[in-house]
């Protein structure tokens, strides 16, 4: 970087100098400029090349496929324009899958994030064997989703499952974990929560660790209790991380596949599609019905839906942030205005303000 600051002053072209030296000087100048301008692009290029290959290209190719009548095995057929999108939008199973996805998403991410925040807050305290506890909460995340689904689908099995057996021991009715829509959503949300709560807790914990301790201490000195400090200091300080966690949870939640797939391995999301998520429906469309064109259309619609959700989340978090600054700034302005007016015309304004 510093090299660029000097050349301007050191290279006034002198006629007595040989042309080759002049050229070499210019060349060095040009190279160093190139270095400054181009190098950063070269450094970030690997990511974008990789993204182009494994991210952008499939995205565009999927869109191309979605415009054709495309059989999985037989390949490309006639160009049909947006017909695939239209038929997906008129397909009741698509809307059913979307409803299931949202229901499972809400049942999983909300309790999950609340639990993760509180676990993180507890881990943030000065407890014994910190590393042990922190490692333990991450343990479920290490287990592959397929194994989690196997274990849980056994637990939630209707005739032989651990949970229904326990319920029946207490004289309660068995729950149709795989036939009842709501119960199956709870079962799948449980799997998701079990796996992701600890992961989110660790990320939130990292954010909490960076909140300055002296803020907490001074608040404690001022008499703020633990709960008050949590809501007034910890939570507002970790807002950016919170937004990150919420958005990644949204993306993950809308793409849920393995858990419902493994929950009942012999059907694609329940015999009556009780817990068929959108990705699972996409899978059924591609590999059972072999309609690759429509499957690609579903993939693209899901992509757009996720972007919408991401934008909504982003805007919500932005308005929360700006609302807060607005509140503080208007307060400050009022206070300043009051101060100023008190200095200039003390008697009249005071009296009118009092009168109000």
């Amino acid at each position: 970087m510093t090299a660029t600051l000097t050349p301007g002053t050191t290279t006034p072209p002198r006629p007595s100098q040989p042309r080759t030296a002049d050229r070499a000087e210019r060349r060095r100048h040009w190279l160093s400029r190139l270095d400054v301008k181009a190098s950063p692009y070269a450094y970030v290029a690997p990511f974008f090349i990789l993204f182009g290959l494994v991210g952008l290209f499939p995205l565009i190719y999927t869109f191309v496929v979605s415009l054709y009548d495309w059989d999985l095995l037989k390949g490309q057929g006639d160009f049909v324009g947006i017909a695939n999108f239209m038929s997906v939008l008129q397909d009741e199973y698509f809307w059913n899958s979307l409803f299931n996805t949202l229901s499972i998403f809400i049942l999983s991410s909300i309790p999950q994030l609340i639990a993760a925040t509180f676990i993180a807050a507890i881990l943030d305290q000065n407890i014994r064997a910190k590393t042990f506890w922190r490692m333990s909460v991450l343990l479920p995340y290490v287990v592959t989703p397929a194994a989690v689904a196997l274990i849980f689908s056994n637990m939630f099995s209707e005739d032989y499952g651990l949970i229904n057996n326990m319920l029946q021991n207490f004289g309660l009715d068995a729950i149709g974990w795989k036939t009842d829509t709501f119960a199956s959503h709870i079962a799948i949300a449980t799997m998701v929560n079990w796996r992701w709560t600890g992961y989110n807790a660790l990320i939130l914990l990292a954010a909490m660790q960076s909140v300055p301790r002296d803020v907490h201490e001074s608040a404690a000195l001022d008499g703020a209790g633990a709960l008050r400090r949590f809501f007034s200091i910890t939570l507002p300080s970790i807002r950016p991380t919170m937004v990150f966690v919420i958005i990644t949870a949204t993306i993950g939640g809308l793409q849920i596949f393995v858990e419902p797939r493994m929950f009942d391995a012999s059907t694609a999301g329940g015999a009556q599609r009780q817990f068929q998520t959108t990705v699972l429906y996409l899978w059924e469309m591609a590999f059972f019905r072999q309609n690759f064109g429509e499957a690609s259309a579903i993939a693209w619609l899901l992509f757009l839906i996720i972007i919408c959700f991401g934008l909504i989340n982003f805007m919500l978090s932005r308005t929360i942030a700006t609302a807060e600054t607005k509140v503080t700034s208007t307060r400050r302005q009022k206070r300043l205005a009051r101060l100023r007016s008190a200095r200039s015309t003390p008697a009249t304004t005071r009296s009118t303000e009092d009168a109000q």
């Binding site: 999985l72 095995l73 037989k74 390949g75 397909d91 199973y93 056994n154 099995s157 005739d159 032989y160 795989k178 036939t179 009942d264 391995a265 012999s266 059907t267 694609a268 015999a271 009556q272 599609r273 059924e284 590999f287 059972f288 019905r289 072999q290 309609n291 690759f292």
Partner: protein
């Protein structure tokens, strides 16, 4: 054995001495592990890398994905009868085994099995491994408890012997259910599968036209099954899971439809569920409604294989009668070659797990008169995604026969006709 292997090649010294690795993908219980070792000993330059996928359904997804991608398939791929119809639509993606001497060894197989593996243009794209003649599995202990005979021959007689009909089967089921309060069969899907496979033409006519709506014979059979199911004869089990095999041990149901390869499945389920020979399962030489074929597989070589000749040689060797006999003993399924079937029938080796029933000999008997039905491109979709949900409603007692049939017709419209 060596002679069989060599005669399978196209006359030349096939793979030569070059070191090669052949990959092969099978599913379920194929019983090939020992055969791979044997082949490697006979051909020191060949290394076999096998992959086995747990169920046929997952194997189908695997094969279809790789076919769509145009790469990734093994040198040899096992294809199930149920999705052979879809594979036949892209048969040019598989090697024509005529180029590797298929016509010379054609006489090994039952005629219909060889024809099933041949496409419309006469290209042979698969050698048959096993077929699915079907007998009746029953639990002798449960039969005794219900006051029914438990002896194999008497049970066959009880169901009507050669004249066994679904009427008798469901009548006995009603009697059993009333006496014991337990279910008669595990779930209605498999029974339905057997009933449809038994018809001359199933979901498709032999010309490949859909054959469901307005098919009164099929509707009659559906109503018959629906009535029995709604009367509590179905245990409403989850197929391929059966509570981790526990349903085969705890007496949830007393009968089970058993194509040859299912004996291997039951073995696995009994092991998983903690059962053994004392659980009481037995195998009778009888089947309601007469002979029926359910399933059976083929070994095919995709054109993407780099070692087509060596793969063809291995395929021919694996499906030769001698190897089929060994496979049948390891996996419990029934061979598709005439000679192997005769060997199995003559040996009539007792199957310990099934109360020493001579399962091979019984299957050979059950195979008589069996002929495979034409399978269309969407056969497995219709089986699983059209009738599966409708029958499940009946199992859960949540629909009348009419409602369930109507759901199946709606699904047929959505998933197959309008697709």
């Amino acid at each position: 054995m060596l002679a069989t292997g060599c005669s399978a090649g196209s006359g030349s010294a096939a793979s030569g001495d070059e070191d090669i690795t052949l990959t092969i993908t099978t599913f379920g219980t194929f019983g090939y592990d020992d055969l791979y070792k044997e082949y490697e000993e006979l051909h020191p330059n060949v290394t076999i890398k096998p992959t086995n996928i747990d169920t046929g359904g997952n194997a189908r997804t695997d094969a279809f994905t790789k076919l769509a991608a145009g790469s990734g398939l093994s040198d040899i791929v096992a294809i199930e009868e149920g999705w052979l119809g879809a594979i036949m639509e892209v048969s040019d993606r598989f090697v024509d085994l005529n180029d590797f001497g298929a016509q010379d060894i054609k006489d090994r197989w039952l005629d219909w099995k060889f024809e099933q593996g041949t496409d419309a243009d006469g290209r042979v794209i698969g050698y048959g491994t096993d077929i699915g003649p079907t007998g009746l599995c029953y639990n002798g202990k449960l039969f005794e408890e219900a006051g029914l005979p438990s002896d194999r021959a008497e049970v066959a007689e009880l169901f009507g012997g050669a004249d066994a009909s679904w009427d008798t089967y469901f009548e006995l089921g009603a009697e059993y259910t009333e006496k014991t309060g337990k279910a008669w069969y595990d779930h209605s899907g498999f029974v339905w599968n057997s009933m449809v496979n038994q018809m001359d033409e199933g979901y498709y006519t032999s010309d490949g036209e859909l054959n469901i709506e307005g098919n009164s014979e099929m509707r009659d059979r559906f109503d018959q099954l629906a009535e029995a199911t709604l009367n509590g004869q179905s245990a409403a089990q989850t197929a391929w899971d059966w509570g981790g095999g526990k349903a085969f041990v705890d007496g949830s149901f007393a009968t089970f439809v058993c194509p040859g390869w299912m004996l291997g499945t039951i073995k696995g389920q009994l092991e998983a569920g903690g059962g053994d020979a004392s659980t009481g399962w037995d195998f009778a030489d009888v089947f309601p409604g007469g002979p029926v074929n359910w399933g059976g597989a083929f070994l095919s070589i995709p054109t993407t294989s780099k070692h087509q000749e060596a793969a063809a040689e291995l395929t021919a060797w694996l499906t030769a009668p001698e190897q089929q006999v060994k496979q049948s003993k390891a996996a419990g399924n029934f061979p598709s070659t005439i000679e192997a079937a005769e060997t199995i029938a003559e040996e009539s080796a007792p199957n310990e797990l099934f109360n020493d029933a001579p399962t091979g000999a019984i299957l050979a008997e059950r195979a008589k008169g069996v002929k495979a039905q034409f399978k269309g491109p969407d056969d497995s979709v219709i089986q699983e995604n059209v009738f599966g949900p409708a029958l499940n409603l009946l199992d859960q007692q949540e629909a009348t026969a009419d409602e369930a049939w109507q759901q199946a017709m709606d699904l047929l419209q959505d998933l197959v006709i309008d697709n």
